[in-house]
């Protein structure tokens, strides 16, 4: 409760930063540094309504500039007579000669009042003409505190956009959700479109219930230095023109073109050190390895059980024959991790000559993760050429990315998950001893009875090895034929080629895989996009008209070959040939969507706008008679500020509304049974079988999503404060889902058109300039979004759809009718009507209900973010925060902490139980006899609270009640071994380990300084240096020991197991332009 209050306070504080006045783009280049011969020029800027606050005054051709204060006054140092430029958003810029005591009258610019944004199909539109919400993120916001995957930088920046990373670290993938989950199954991720060409964001592989690796995604190959801006189109209305693939929203990325300068060279470099952020620190530091309060005879078993004796420094012989004191190593888990290092260096060359511009960038990223013996490098080469020939403009990009990763971390229940194995390692067992992971002959050094579930983490990182090599080629070409001022014909072709090799080597003598194994996965993915567009715009009197007509072909052709070798022959030769048993598995994935689409919009007097779109897709994945689907959208807006005379309070206001439908297809080969033969042969016989695990459906229909959205955009106090509010309601019907079914039908899933899922929500973004005093400015913003994600129906009487199953306790996460998406379902203790836990009168242990219950929900109640930027002269300090509230997480890490006696809470009753056991042995009584005698003794105490107190002298007394024969309840007074209690809970009762996963995180802090131009020589155009921090600290979280962003994959929400600590990074960034 207390924590919640703190959180609220923080949020309020965030909101308070948003005061009353106008926004102005913070100008990094502002400078008030003056040369001695300059004079101080003062002046006032006003408009029809009086003084203007925050107007920019700049000496033309320099970075020398300032902003006006509350009274519209400014001071600037320059020679009288030099040209000043005064600008203000929504007003026409003015150029005037500098003179003392000058007064400048600004006039509103009707045509300039429009912010221009990039919308669907890459068409630039005035923001006010749009009937749907868009958010923009500038490229410069992404390049300071760099993430290794650029998309992670969006955390907390855009209302309604939720970023979730996996525990996989730098080489892992990222899950992005816009306005919640709209599909019951499926990836729910937005479509990324780069300069008009959709990106292949295939997630090559992710960890599932049985663990695995996160093999990364496509978007991570985009270099932040190449990004001009990102536009987030939320909801189907915005993306109706991208079709099926965009039904979860679109993120448009516009990359940089060549600079206007003839030749410019830019260098951007950053170096950060990475350290672990969340630690495994809320653990007991009293009892060491072993079972039942006793020390194992040989220190080779019970290493991952902390139910042993007290760590009292007595000498114990360990697996390597050495004797060491039995003592606690308090930071045992943390000490395993090292300090990581990330460097990113970018060089950009830009050449511009007449109509031709060439921009070439090279980026080298290197990352040493906090896990020892891991490494990652990514080199990115990007060439962009734009030129014109007569009326035709050409634009070409070629991008090549090479990525090498050594030792991706194994996640989840994987036996090689280092995090999982370290978590349960007893506090008395120093992980550093495990550095001797092999015997002289190179075989696995047995340290815990060759327990395959708790392998030596050093062996996994040094002897076993996984390697990834990825080559990505992206080529796009665009030709625009400017037929007339009003008509353009545009052709775009783009292709994405992804070649990835993942090699996972398990050395011989690895517990659980003694014979060794090698698996090589080869991915060969190709996507092609071809598009033709006719664009028309014109003005007829008060009417503005825009129209588009186009056609698109989208084709995917992926091939995956998996080679497996088992039983290594010659030691250490990592080649499939070297294995006695070899097999190959081949998979293909091919599909094509052909589309035709058009849109038309009309604007009247820059005040009323109406737009309609229509698109028809034909998908190869649907049955012939159902494979064409057409869907429309309609949107409109009214700029009501046009009716307001006095604009001193509200200077801009717009309401907008839109309705859209989007159709969607599915994966290929799901319409009929197909057959395969087994990977292995059986002398002369064909082992053949139905290949489908999901029951095919020959009558499949496309999915439909209908959405409605209204929004309000306002700007106050001459743009100093802006507000954007959206309400949306989205209903997805006829979803194509692989519905989990009874295996008795022969199929564990069946493909059906079913279900309705509704997303309703509200998004608010508020940005403003809090303070602007002379050289000082304070900007702040906050965004908030609340999404309710209701599963309205499934199919024939089914009320639950499983999305992901947990390894432990039979827990699953799924869609439950009537509940929010992401119900966590599992067992709970048996409870009476009052909700008290029922304790078994014989055993003293809680009884477990044989029915499953909804134990939590993995969807966020609301999410938000806030940022604050302070600018003083050439200094800039900025911080961004990310808030997520209300989702639950089944922490299997904590489950194993309790199970293994590592959790602090397992201390209760331990000493008492061990004493009682000693007394029992002294009395030479059996377990049963001893318990009976204690029971009698306790029952002689009449007063129940005294009785419970007395019981606590013999062990742990589980909270709960015992059911009496007459149906009444008595408070439990039976002492038990705390280990029995916690292990009962750990094996049967997941409800104990479900945590509120809410958090407030500081995502980034940057502190930068831009050197004044005058200080720089002739060669250097600009130089800025910043201190940067990514994820520097978690302000608030509820879950002990692990980071709330710890899912082991990007689809299964609500589950966490063996998560590696999250990383925080600090460092420097230098940007220099020549």
């Amino acid at each position: 409760m207390k924590k919640t209050k703190t959180l609220l306070c923080l949020l309020c504080a965030g909101m308070m930063w948003l005061p009353s006045t106008a926004i102005a783009v913070t100008n990094n280049g502002m400078s008030a540094v003056s040369a001695p011969d300059d004079q101080e020029i003062t002046g006032t800027v006003e408009d029809a309504n009086g003084p203007m606050i925050g107007a920019t005054v700049k000496v033309i051709g320099t970075n020398n500039g300032t902003v006006t204060d509350f009274d519209g006054n400014f001071k600037i140092h320059c020679k009288p007579g030099t040209m000043l430029e005064i600008s203000y958003i929504g007003y026409a810029s003015k150029q005037v000669k500098a003179q003392k005591g000058m007064k400048i009258m600004m006039e509103e610019d009707k045509t300039m009042l429009s912010e221009v944004v990039v919308t669907a199909l890459g068409i630039k539109r005035e923001r006010k003409a749009l009937g749907y919400g868009v958010s923009e993120v500038k490229g410069e916001e992404l390049t300071k505190a760099k993430e290794t995957n650029v998309i992670n930088s969006l955390s907390g920046k855009v209302a309604g956009l939720v970023v979730q990373n996996t525990a996989g670290g730098a080489s892992g993938s990222t899950r992005v959700l816009l306005r919640g989950n709209t599909e019951i199954s499926g990836n729910n991720q937005p479509l990324y479109v780069i300069d008009g060409v959709p990106l292949d964001n295939t997630n090559f592989g992710s960890a599932g219930t049985e663990g695995g690796y996160d093999l990364g995604d496509g978007i991570s190959a985009i270099n932040p230095d190449d990004i001009e801006n990102m536009t987030v189109l939320k909801g189907p209305a915005a993306s109706a023109l991208y079709g099926s693939r965009a039904s979860h929203g679109v993120i448009l990325i516009t990359t940089k073109k060549a600079d206007k300068d003839k030749i410019s060279v830019e260098y951007n470099g950053s170096l950060t050190i990475d350290r672990q952020s969340s630690g495994w620190d809320n653990i007991q530091q009293v009892y060491g390895m072993g079972y039942s309060g006793a020390y194992s005879r040989e220190a080779t078993s019970g290493t991952n059980s902390s139910w042993g004796t007290k760590a009292d420094d007595f000498l114990v012989e360990y697996f390597d024959g050495e004797k060491r004191p039995f003592m606690m190593y308090p930071n045992n888990t943390s000490e395993f991790f090292r300090t990581g290092l990330t460097t990113q260096n970018t060089a950009i060359l830009s050449v511009n000559s007449g109509k031709t511009g060439i921009r070439f960038s090279v980026t080298d990223m290197r990352n040493k993760d906090i896990l020892p013996n891991t490494h990652m490098s990514r080199d990115n080469f990007n060439l962009r050429v734009n030129t014109s020939a007569g009326p035709v403009d050409f634009d070409f990009t070629a991008n090549y990315t090479r990525e090498d990763v050594k030792n991706r971390p194994a996640l989840g229940d994987s036996q090689s998950n280092v995090g999982k194995n370290l978590m349960t390692l007893a506090g008395t067992y120093n992980q550093a001893w495990l550095k001797n992971y092999q015997n002289e002959d190179g075989t696995y050094a047995n340290w815990n009875g060759n327990d395959q579930y708790n392998k030596n983490p050093y062996w996994d990182l040094y002897k076993n090895e996984n390697k990834t090599a990825k080559d990505v080629f992206r080529l796009t070409g665009k030709a625009i034929w400017n037929i007339s001022d009003h008509l353009k014909l545009q052709g775009t072709i783009g292709t994405d080629m992804n070649y990835m090799d993942f090699q996972d080597y398990t050395a011989r003598t690895t517990p659980g895989k003694l014979a060794g194994q090698l698996q090589v996965q080869k991915y060969n993915n190709l996507t092609l996009n071809a598009e033709l567009l006719v664009l028309y715009n014109n003005q007829f009197g008060d009417f503005d008209v825009n129209a588009t007509l186009g056609g698109n072909i989208f084709k995917v052709s992926n091939k995956t070959d998996i080679y497996t070798g088992m039983d290594e022959q010659m030691n250490g030769i990592v080649a499939i040939m070297n294995y006695a048993e070899q097999s190959i598995q081949q998979n293909t994935y091919k599909k094509q969507i052909n589309s035709l689409f058009g849109s038309a919009s009309v604007g009247y007097r820059h005040t009323y706008y109406l737009e309609g779109t229509i698109r028809g897709d034909k998908s190869s994945t649907l049955p012939i008679n159902n494979n064409v689907y057409v869907y429309p959208s309609l949107s409109g807006s009214i700029v009501f500020s046009e009716f307001i005379k006095n604009k001193s309070l509200i200077n801009y206001g717009k309401i907008r509304a839109s309705w859209a439908q989007v159709g969607s297809d599915t994966d290929p080969y799901q319409l009929a049974l197909n057959y395969a033969t087994a990977k292995y042969s059986y002398g002369g016989f064909v082992i053949g079988m139905i290949n489908n695990n999901t029951q095919p459906n020959k009558d499949l229909k496309p999915t439909r999503t209908n959405s409605f959205e209204i929004g309000l955009e306002m700007k106050f106090f001459n743009n100093r404060l802006s507000l954007d509010v959206t309400y949306y309601n989205q209903l997805s019907k006829d979803q194509i889902i692989g519905l989990a079914s009874s295996s008795t039908s022969g199929y564990n899933y069946r493909l059906v058109n079913a279900g309705e899922i509704q997303n309703k929500g509200i998004e608010v973004a508020l940005n403003g300039r809090v303070l602007a005093i002379k050289d000082f400015a304070w900007d702040a913003g906050v965004n908030f979004s609340k999404n309710t994600n209701k599963v309205k129906s499934l199919v024939d009487g089914m009320d639950y759809f499983e999305l992901e199953k947990a390894t432990w306790c039979g827990v699953s996460v799924g869609a439950e009718v009537g509940k929010n998406y992401g119900s966590i379902i599992g067992k709970d203790f048996k409870r009476n009507e009052q909700g008290q836990v029922i304790i078994n009168g014989k055993t003293g242990l809680p009884e477990v209900d044989d029915k499953t219950h909804t134990l939590g929900n993995a969807s966020w109640d609301w999410t938000g973010g806030f940022y604050s930027t302070f600018t003083y002269k050439n200094f800039r300090l900025s911080a961004g925060f990310d808030v997520k509230v209300g989702a639950d997480l089944f922490s299997m890490s904590m489950r194993s902490a309790y199970d293994s006696g590592r959790a602090s809470e397992t201390l209760e009753g331990r000493a008492e139980w061990y004493n009682s056991e000693e007394a029992r042995k002294a009395a030479n009584m059996s377990d049963q006899e001893w318990r009976a005698s204690i029971k009698t003794r306790l029952e002689n105490i009449e007063d129940i609270s005294q009785r419970i107190e007395a019981a606590k002298q013999y062990g742990f007394v589980a909270p709960g009640v015992i059911k009496n024969d007459d149906g009444t309840y008595t408070e439990n007074y039976i002492p038990v071994d705390p280990r029995s209690y916690w292990q009962t809970a750990a094996s049967n009762c997941p409800s104990t380990f479900i945590y509120d996963n809410s958090y407030v995180k500081c995502r980034e802090i940057t502190f930068g300084y831009t050197f004044p131009e005058k200080w720089l020589g002739k060669a250097v155009k600009s130089l800025s240096v910043s201190f940067v921090a990514r994820n520097p600290f978690i302000i608030w979280k509820n879950i002990p020991n692990i980071d709330p962003d710890s899912g082991y994959n990007t689809s299964g929400l609500g589950l966490e197991y063996g998560s590696l600590p999250s990383r925080r990074s600090y460092g420097f960034n230098v940007n220099v332009k020549f």
Binding site: N450, Q452, L514, Y669, L673, I690, Q695, S743, Y747, S812
Partner: protein, 579 residues
Amino acid sequence: MNTKYIKHTFAAFIAGCGLFVTASCSDSYMEELNTDESKAVSIAPSAQLTTALLQTYGDFGLMDTYRSYITGFTQHLAGGWNVTNYAGSVHADDDQMRLVWDQFYSVAIKNLVDAIANSDELPNTNAALRIHRVYMMSVLTDIYGDIPCIDAGKGYTEGIANPKYDKQEDIYNWFFEELTACVAQLGTGSDRIGGDVTSLSGDAAAWKRYANSLRMRFAMRISQVNPAKAKDEFEKALSAEGGYIRSADNDAYIIYTDGPFTLYEGSRDLDFRVNALGEILYGQDPTSPTMVCSTFFNIMNDLSDPRLYRICRHYLNTLRSDVKADRDNNFDLTDEVAQYLNNVEGGEKPCNPGAAWYSDWVNAPANDAIPGLQKLIEQYPNAGFDKNNYNTRLLRPMLSLDFEEANRPGTLINYAEVEFLLAEAKLNGWNVSGTVEEHFKAGVKAAMEWLNEHYLQSSNKIQDSEINAYINGISSTLSTNAKEAINTQAWILHLMNPSEAWANLRRSDYPVIKDRTKLKTYGDFTYDDDDLQTPTRLRYPILENQYNSVNYKEAIERLGGKDDWHKRLWWDVADINVK
């Protein structure tokens, strides 16, 4: 630019667009694109028969259910962590119980149903497919009780996504009808039963004998609950066309290869080439070998059974291959250990049900107390033979490697079992030729020869003299309690056929096994069931409640409103005899 020009361009563009799209838009093109080139659109039913037959004992992914529960319930095995944690401490775990259900339905049953529907032209193959479906269903119903049977596996072929749970009585009735029909159908076609990886080698006549023998097994199964029908079916099977299994030559079993163990990963790839029951009993590491239960050990010991030390061995190993049951690193010290235990402990002390091998600790021997141990330590000083309790574990009897090898047969029904069925049928007064004793003795002899033929190393086969001596010795048990004697022998026979072992134990209530409720409990395990008596069925997968709720709830109603694993099945009319 004039409007005419614009119009032309527009028209050209539209036409271009049209061509551009239609070129790659035809239905046949789209259909072809949506056909997986690495997969086939049809397959020979025989290939599916192969898959279903091999899965029976070849699927590692379902063997945990057998090991964790069934081998413990029958008290063949005890002491290994899994057996002790689940069966031994009567601890229900959905993930361990549901495996046979999930794997059989989603692979074998699905493919059998599909192949049956596609094999009208192949009467012999069709009959074999149907017989194997009956066999698989019998394993399922004898484990879980009422199950989806008639409707099962028909998700695609007949659109039945939610199969109803048939009553076990109906299922057995259907078995008899189906087997009768198949026997009649076999031999009517000219097709050879392709894909037959059993000892029956695709021979229709052999399949007839097998089907009739199965019918005898099922008849005996219902002999307590419906004696009249049991007698009728048994006698009909005896006299049915084609006959029944009358010698070891007619034994019906699945043939597995000597391939490598591939564990859970292999199961995911549907690698069913080797006997996965042996594979799981071999275990995945040296610390988890399979231990023999005191009940099994003592019954053989009390009757001076020559199989005792052919089934129970004492191994010392710190290292083992995981691709085969390897003898190189499993040092067999049985004779020395047995001698040591006799001298020091007054005999062997196998684990009781519910105990782990380390419960009631047996003190590790001094290294030189067992010369072989001493020798190994000297020979391999770094192997750690006296570390990590390997030397203590050595003192508990383990299952012989002979039963854990990859190419051991997967029993369907063998001659020995048929003789035991005949012996009991005769005892019941059914119309069977010969005497109870003749059939009983023939059964015991065949059971030993079954081991000789399929399991034991050539140097270690049971000699005829041993067999004869044993048979003569146990004749007296027949006069004490013939039903007990017969079914105790059947129980020994069924060691490597867990589903039949458990079913026949519950049906006959013999042999007398240990009363679980009177045994000790240990702190390391969760005894969370109020009733610690051995369960009589396994629970349904929990998610059936959600995925097939209407039918599931009906079945639960018939169980008395609760998925109770102490509830006896329809054919199981009395409790197992315990002591």
